[in-house]
């Protein structure tokens, strides 16, 4: 969403930045353990952060990223969703709302189908597939949100010009 040299462009850039910073803060809560696994403060905060993230993820140990007796705070699928959103918030939106809506529906249908197949036991849980479906879904959610905001900004600009 970068319309350079226009009022809506500056606004669009700000929205992207706000969404990116919010998602970065959100993701840093669980991603930070990947970069500083031996940090004393982080290890002490682990049970409290685990409690915080328990509201957004089942945290089943076999579905979480793990290393050295430590399970990360959310599963592969949820990590994918937030990382996908983070990537999406960095990119400029160049597609229309209708297309992003279709992409959102398609990616979520795939994600739900994968969850259903895993839960029902038809298909075995695959961390890579869970992560990829998560990334696609997270990416399309933010894409949908940004393209909607872009359309709203353009609409408002049109109304102002007409007046």
């Amino acid at each position: 969403m970068t319309f350079k040299h226009t009022a809506s462009g500056i606004q669009g850039y700000k929205i992207n930045l706000i969404i990116f910073c919010t998602l970065l803060l959100w993701c840093s809560g669980f991603l930070i353990y990947l970069f500083f696994p031996s940090s004393t403060v982080l290890n002490i905060a682990y049970p409290f952060l685990k409690q915080f993230y328990s509201g957004i993820c089942h945290q089943q140990p076999d579905k979480c990223i793990n290393s050295e007796n430590m399970y990360y705070l959310i599963c592969y699928r949820c990590s994918g969703i937030y990382i996908g959103g983070l990537i999406s918030s960095l990119l400029p939106v160049r597609i229309k709302l209708k297309k992003s809506l279709n992409l959102f529906v398609a990616s979520f249908a795939i994600l739900i189908a994968d969850v259903f197949l895993n839960t029902s036991g038809i298909k075995q849980y695959d961390a890579t597939i869970a992560f990829i479906t998560g990334v696609c879904s997270g990416f399309t959610v933010i894409l949908l949100l940004l393209s909607f905001l872009k359309e709203q900004t353009l609409l408002r600009k049109e109304i102002l010009n007409a007046e």
Partner: protein
């Protein structure tokens, strides 16, 4: 109009809070139940106003999502506190030995000891009285943050679908 917003949010927030406490459904809380509650509150609000306010405004939708998120967080926390009070145990108490073992294995020194003491005090309060103020505050804070974000997101996505349908029709 404001009253109708609260009614719609109250109904959806309560429903979502009840569903998020059901074991098994709990893990779908943020991904499915809360955003869906946000979207349904928008639909409900439209039905209450006999769809006279179409196309629905972003500001209205954000308020609806925010209200649904806050109400669902309050009800979800209340339900959890009530269940904890009756059973005198919860997920935190049950997973505490594993967390303590992990912290001890990491050998983190005095800071970790203080953290362990605090966690033990919370668990003791829950086991003896069935209530811990610190635990309730932590759960309420995390539920409010998570539920409001996801509820607003759900409500906005719901609005996009509703407004698209009007434009197409």
């Amino acid at each position: 109009m404001q009253n109708k917003k609260i009614q719609a949010a109250l109904l959806c927030g309560f429903g979502a809070a009840v569903l998020t406490t059901v074991p098994g459904l709990k893990s779908f809380g943020c991904c499915l139940i809360i955003p869906l509650a946000g979207a349904i509150s928008v639909v409900l609000y439209l039905k209450m106003n006999r769809e006279e306010i179409l196309p629905i405004e972003t500001k209205t939708v954000i308020i609806l999502g925010l209200l649904t998120g806050i109400i669902s967080a309050v009800f979800a926390t209340s339900t959890e506190v009530l269940i904890t009070f009756i059973t005198k145990t919860n997920d935190f108490v049950e997973s505490l030995p594993a967390s303590q073992q992990m912290l001890r294995e990491l050998n983190l020194g005095t800071l970790a000891e203080d953290s362990l003491k605090m966690m033990n005090a919370i668990a003791e309060d829950i086991r003896n009285k069935g209530f811990s103020f610190f635990y309730t505050f932590a759960v309420l804070t995390s539920n409010t943050i998570v539920n409001t974000i996801f509820s607003i997101l759900g409500a906005v996505i719901g609005m996009i679908f509703i407004n698209r349908r009007i434009n197409a029709g």
